[in-house]
Symmetry: C2
Subunit: 251 residues, 2 copies
Amino acid sequence: MTKTVLVGAGHLAFHFQNQLTKSKKFQLIQWYSRSIEKVTFSQKKLDITDQLYQLKEADLYLICVSDDAIASVSKKIETEGLVAHCAGGVPLDRLKGPSKKAVFYPLQTFTKGADLSFEQLPFCIETTAASDQKILQDLAEELGGTAHKIDSQKRAMIHLIAVFLNNFGNHLLHLGNDLAKKNNIPFEIFHPLIHETFAKALSNGPKNAQTGPALRHDQKTIDKHLSLLDDKDIKKLYIHLTYSIQKKHEQ
Amino acid sequence: MTKTVLVGAGHLAFHFQNQLTKSKKFQLIQWYSRSIEKVTFSQKKLDITDQLYQLKEADLYLICVSDDAIASVSKKIETEGLVAHCAGGVPLDRLKGPSKKAVFYPLQTFTKGADLSFEQLPFCIETTAASDQKILQDLAEELGGTAHKIDSQKRAMIHLIAVFLNNFGNHLLHLGNDLAKKNNIPFEIFHPLIHETFAKALSNGPKNAQTGPALRHDQKTIDKHLSLLDDKDIKKLYIHLTYSIQKKHEQ
């Protein structure tokens, strides 16, 4: 059994806790949170603490704190074990202290209150020493996911791409949802279109899947759409995205 | 049986043809295409023509030609029946001639070579005379879809929203796909993230689903991402979308 300590009590940490208590290969021996009341519900089963100096010796420390706290928290962990943070946008060397270091980044969006699954999820793994890879590969597989060896530079690019796909993609849905609300159009009528957009982009490739007024340089429709938008920033965004589509398809 | 004539031979027309030949309520009696070779494969079963003056008298004419051709094609159809175009971005009064007029707009993205389904698909229906609604409601249902009474003004807004959700959403996938290719990152590792993005936006609402550096005003990560983008237009688009997320969440 790989003795494991969980550091942090955000949404990701809760999900790790939930999965690891079921594991037969990884034994969750302790859970740290700065706010101990967040984790007290599991008191009877698991050792909990709000003091980093009280951390037990373990094989693996999974750090699931905010990006800004990774350096200060890791500095205080004294161990022979492996210390791994789980942040996509943070390089490995943000981890401080003398311990062995790693990154274990699940490529997914996590929100409080939303169900989530590690099933088939890619975990991006980086370690200082090659010999530390296996423990995190095993963890990825034990969680139901897939392991991918990715260095800090490539992970930064993956994180950037994830922003385009998730944050920006979700924002377009937000803008569409708001326009629908303002015009008394039930957003549900767009669900089949949204579903098809993603299904088609993934099966045919997004380049082949593109359609619409921007692609066919249909300036009459573009002008009509712009006349329907009263927010000047959203109007600018429409123009910018239209131009970007046209430019991309001329390349 | 509602006698129906199909006008045009694009992807949508082919799918209508495919569905209508199975129908027991709608009888496809003729198919027009300017380029007759496009529709000759069905010659034995169906009357085909490349001459508008040869159109047979029917209850319903479904016009599936390009937006720009709707006026000139409709002007030449002489009938007691109902003439309906299928374009989202085109108002009903673009139809010319003395016939009864309607719009029958399937809210979906259609691309050549991609499978498509009318199952559960919303059809936006508009007619000059209220008495003509029923024939198109029946058609929507016969095709497996749902009928929605939508006037030209509201349909223009729906078409605009569809551009945000589909064309612009697909473009973000295109940009992400290209960045992945350039950096030798297999795009498949983003599939669970893409799937979750849409699932979560639809179940929790896109406002609640938002996460990431823009939302938490994490300028350090934003600056890092901008340093990774070498195309100045894509850099501008990142800045614009980041600003738009921040503005939207302050409203």
